[in-house]
Amino acid sequence: MKKDKKMIVCFLTPALFMFSVIFLYPVLRTIAMSFFQVEGVSDAFSTWKFTGLDNYITLLQTPIFLDSMKNMLKIWVYGGIAVMLVSLLFAAILTNGLAGKTFYKTVIYIPNIINAVAMSTMWITAIFNKRFGFLHNFFALFNSDLAKTDYMSGSIKFWSLLVAFCFGSVGYYMLIFMGGIERLSPDMYEAATIDGASKVKQFTRITLPLLRGVFKTCLTFWSIGVVGFFVWSQMWSAPLASELSTTTPFVYMYNITFGTQGNTFRNAAMGAAVGVLMAVTVLIVFFLINFLIKDDDVEV
């Protein structure tokens, strides 16, 4: 198809141009920037001062950054386990011939299509408000002391944030798991039923092992999502711009590069170093997932 060369070039150029401007050039510049000392985001290249690995070394000795990494790890591990278990459970229930399946999965997915700012406002007010929230009213019903809990302060704050975030994520991973389960051949289950395997046994012995590939996809998406954790953290620290208990590396990077109220310390190159560290983290997780989970089965 030699004569279509012109068409290939014409059709591909706009997409490649956008890709270069929005992704390729920025990535290269961010990597380069992380090895220099740069104060403002838009400072010209001529004002940059090469400092080697200094930014990374300083970063790994900054308590706020290390705390933000710890928060991110907690979200990844605790949130990840909860979301994967619940969505897998829901997927198993819904693919079992439950009446009203379409209704259930539509409603469970709803939080995913609602703006995160709107969604978190709902959680903060309707559920967690200490005066009129659902949890307050629920515990007040039993005259329990728990009704006095303030979910938006102290050490509980992180957990209320995590619960709200995970609740919304379930629908998405549930749909991916359902897609994987529905692609498995019904013959296997028929054979297993004839051989006398219970539903639970069928799930643990047939469904789970065959879902490895799907599980890998979910873990990858989850990791990418957690690295991008930003808006929920900002909502939970409002009216402050950020707060230690809910700060993630993304929020930390935003604070040091774009500056927040009452904080004049700005260091763009350090922000770039945070970005590179996050990208490397995703890469490592990605390789670990691929190394640990071998998939020779259903691919999503």
Binding site: M1, L16, F23, V41, F90, I93, M278, V282, V300
Partner: protein, 287 residues
């Protein structure tokens, strides 16, 4: 008689799955309850909400909350902005991605695999990796604070995802159409516009909806590139309403604003849930 037997059998089966119904049902009830409470609160006065009486409507329905939110809280501006950003991005990214996906999906040429892999890598790249140089580019071109720069970045951001999604659609089409068109003397570019693009319509609709919703719900880029309220989209806009609420104490107006922000995507989703859900289940790609 037979039908009756089948229905009792089905009823018994559903009864056996009662724990399943209970678990999933409670989860759904919680979600619907939360949305319903917000809508109820958006029609109540602030003192009623504070007393926890949002569901009583003792003083009737207060639709003026919506008028307040729409005008005084500037939601109208954010709403129109988001509509503009989402529509332009939807059209723009399709215009760029559909032709690219077509040649990537149907032609064998050097670099094809490389481009595809580049797009997939771009999809999993954390936004913090690209935001700083983009901001400096925009400053150098003195474009910060204009709507154009945000639209341009949004379109570029959606290109890898849109292209990757459409590649699988184009490669699943039969080559019979192109062969027939070639025999009839139709040039390949015309074949694409007149024959192949209409055939890929289901995929284009699905990915278009996803892009619209993604941009409607986008937060970070709008926060960085829309420095003033007149360019803000609904995400950062709603957050500024929330911040202002601490001083005005207008809870009713806040909830009305929340409803206005989530209603478009909710209605879109409920109308097109079948398309959207099958798009996610089949592709396993972020929507």
């Amino acid at each position: 008689m037979k039908k009756q037997k089948a229905s009792t059998l089905e009823a018994r089966k559903q009864l056996r799955m009662l724990p399943g119904h209970l678990v999933v049902g409670l989860w759904c009830l919680f979600t619907i309850g939360m949305l319903a409470w917000i809508v109820a609160a958006s029609l109540s006065t602030s003192p009623e909400i504070m007393r926890g009486e949002a569901l009583k409507f003792a003083t009737g329905f207060h639709f003026e909350n919506y008028i307040n939110a729409w005008t005084a809280n500037n939601i109208s501006v954010f709403f129109v902005n988001s509509l503009l950003y989402a529509s332009c991005t939807m059209v723009g990214s399709l215009a760029i991605s559909a032709p690219a996906a077509y040649v990537l999906g149907r032609y064998v040429f050097k670099g094809n695999k490389l481009v595809r892999n580049g797009f997939i890598t771009a999809m999993s790249l954390p936004q913090i990796m690209i935001i700083l140089p983009l901001f400096s580019l925009a400053t150098q071109a003195s474009l910060t604070g204009s709507k154009f720069v945000l639209i341009f970045i949004y379109i570029g951001m959606q290109v890898p995802y849109t292209t990757t999604f459409l590649i699988s659609f184009f490669s699943s089409l039969s080559s019979v159409y192109e062969e027939a068109a070639a025999i009839d003397g139709c040039p390949p570019m015309k074949t694409f516009w007149k024959i192949m693009l209409p055939l890929a319509q289901p995929g284009i609709v699905t990915v278009g909806i996803f892009n619209f919703m993604n941009i409607w719900n986008e937060y970070f880029l709008s926060l960085i590139f829309a420095s003033s309220e007149k360019n803000m989209s609904v995400g950062p806009g709603l957050k500024s309403v929330l911040t202002a609420m601490q001083y005005t104490g207008d809870w009713g107006g806040l909830f009305a604003a929340v409803v206005i922000v989530f209603l478009p995507t909710l209605v879109l989703f409920l109308c097109l849930s079948k398309t959207i859900i099958s798009g996610i289940t089949a592709g396993g790609v972020k929507g």
